[in-house]
Amino acid sequence: MTVDARETSESAQLQKATRDIYLPPERKKITGGDTVHISAKEFSIYYGEFEAVKRVSADILSKYVTAIIGPSGCGKSTFLRAINRMNDLIPSCHTTGALLFDGDDVYGKFTDEVLLRKKVGMVFQKPNPFPKSIFDNIAYGPRLHGVNDKKKLMEIVERSLRKAAIWDEVCDRLDKNALGLSGGQQQRLCVARTLAVEPEVLLLDEPTSALDPKATAKIEDLIQELRGSYTIMIVTHNMQQASRVSDSTMFFYEGVLVEHASTAQLFTNPKDSMTEDYITGRFS
C-alpha cells in the first residue's frame, strides 16, 4: 500500500468512527444526525508565515454537539473562528485546503459572508450584549436582515429568549438595558441573540469560562436543549464540560488534529497516547 493510499484509508476509518457516534443510553441518537454539516479537507490556517492549524481533515455531523479541546495556542479557537470567517478580520490570516459548509466552500470566491454568519452564529468567552434594551439586542439581527414588523419582531424575541431558557427571567423587563443582567443571563441573552436569526450552526468559544458554576450549569443545560436542533461546536478548557455536553470531541495539539472520536470513546479509551496524556493531565 502506498503512503497516499494508507492515508486515505486512515482518513476513511476516522470518518467512519466519527459518523458512528457511540452514545451512552441516556443520550438520544439524533434523527438526521448522520449527515455531514461541516467538512474540513486538508485545511490549514496561517497567520502570516505561521501555520496555526495544520492540514486538518474532519467531518462535523449535523445537529450533534462537537467539543474542541487542547492546550492554549493549539489552534482550536482559530479553527472555530474559521467556520464563520471571523479570522477575515485579521489581515495576515489566510487559508489553504478546503472548508465546506453544506458542501459549499466557506472560502470560495462567491461566498456571501453576511449570509454565512447568519447561518453560523457565534457566542464568545465574555458575554458581549449591546448597550441596548434586551428587546433590541435580540431584534438587532432580524432587523438587519429586513424584519421590521413589530409583531413579527416580538414573536422572534420571545421565541429566541424561550429557546435560550431566559424568557421567564426577563419577560417583564424587555425594555431594560441588557447590561443590567447578571453574567450568566447576559451569556444566555447572547445565545438568544444568535438564535434570533435562525442559524444552523452555533459556535461557542469557551462560553462559560467567565461564569460561576450555577450559570455554567444553565448554559450546559441549554446546550442539551439545543442539541438536535442545531449543529453545535464548543471550544472549552474544561474537560468535564466537554465530556458532559458533547457527542464527539476533537483534540488539537500544536495546530494538528490529533484525535477526533465520539466523546464516550475519547474519554474512556483514547487511541492516541498524546490525547491520553492530555486528558489525564500527564502532559509535559
Binding site: Q240, F267, T268, N269, P270, D277, I279, T280, R282
Partner: protein
C-alpha cells in the same frame, strides 16, 4: 512525563489492592492446609483474617469512590479505578469462599478429601488468583489470557468431581451428606477460579479499553 499527585494516589490504591490480594491468597492456601490437616485452630485464624479482608475491602471501595468523586478521572486513570473496584469485589468473594471451605471441613472425612484431590485443585485456583494479580500489576495482557485459559483446567477437575460424586451416590452404602459436602467444596474452588478469570478479564479491559467478557476465546 510528569507524575501528578493524582497519579501517586492511583499507585497507592493499586498497592493497597495488591496487599489485599496477598492476604486473600495466603488465606486461601491456609484453608487448603487446614483442610488437609483438619486444623481447627487454623480454621479459626482463617475466619479472623477474613473479617480483616472484609474491612479492607470496604475501606478500599470507599477510597476509590472518594477518588472518583473528587478527581473525576478519565481514560486510563478511570479504567484503573474501575478495575480496582471490580478486583476488590472479586478478592472479597474469594476470601468468603475460603471460609466456606473451612465451614464444610467437619462434614467430610480426611480419606474422602484425599480421594477427591481438592488440595491440588485448590492450589491451581490459588495460582490463578496470584497470576491474575501479577497481570494487573504488570498490565500484562498475555498473562491475563493465560489465566483465563487455566480456568478450563479447574472446570475439568470440577466436572470429574461431579461425575465421581454422582457415581458414588448410586452405591448402596454411600454417605450422601459427605458427598454433598465434597461437591460443594469442589464448587467453591471452581468459583474461586472463576473470580480469578474475571480479574484477568478486568486486566484486559484496563490494558485495551475493551470489555472482553462473554466473548469466548482469547482476546
Amino acid at each position: 512525563m510528569s507524575e501528578r499527585p493524582v497519579h501517586e494516589l492511583i499507585n497507592e490504591l493499586s498497592q493497597v489492592l495488591f496487599e489485599l490480594s496477598n492476604k486473600v491468597v495466603e488465606n486461601l492456601l491456609a484453608s487448603l492446609y487446614a483442610l488437609k490437616n483438619q486444623d481447627e485452630e487454623g480454621a479459626r485464624k482463617i475466619r479472623m483474617v477474613d473479617d480483616e479482608i472484609d474491612v479492607a475491602e470496604v475501606n478500599l471501595e470507599e477510597r476509590c469512590l472518594a477518588f472518583l468523586a473528587l478527581q473525576q478521572p478519565v481514560a486510563k486513570d478511570l479504567r484503573t479505578i474501575v478495575t480496582i473496584i471490580k478486583i476488590n469485589d472479586d478478592l472479597e468473594r474469594i476470601g468468603d469462599l475460603a471460609v466456606h471451605i473451612i465451614d464444610r471441613m467437619p462434614e467430610i472425612s480426611p480419606e474422602m478429601l484425599e480421594s477427591f484431590g481438592f488440595e491440588s485443585m485448590g492450589m491451581l485456583a490459588g495460582d490463578m488468583v496470584k497470576k491474575s494479580i501479577e497481570a494487573f500489576v504488570s498490565k500484562d495482557r498475555i498473562l491475563a489470557n493465560h489465566v483465563i485459559a487455566l480456568d478450563e483446567d479447574v472446570d475439568v477437575l470440577h466436572r470429574s468431581v461431579f461425575k465421581k460424586v454422582t457415581a458414588l451416590m448410586k452405591e448402596p452404602d454411600s454417605d450422601i451428606n459427605q458427598l454433598i459436602a465434597a461437591l460443594s467444596m469442589s464448587r467453591y474452588i471452581e468459583r474461586m477460579a472463576d473470580h480469578a478469570s474475571r480479574i484477568a478479564n478486568e486486566v484486559i479491559f484496563l490494558v485495551t479499553g475493551e470489555i472482553a467478557r462473554h466473548r469466548g476465546g482469547f482476546y
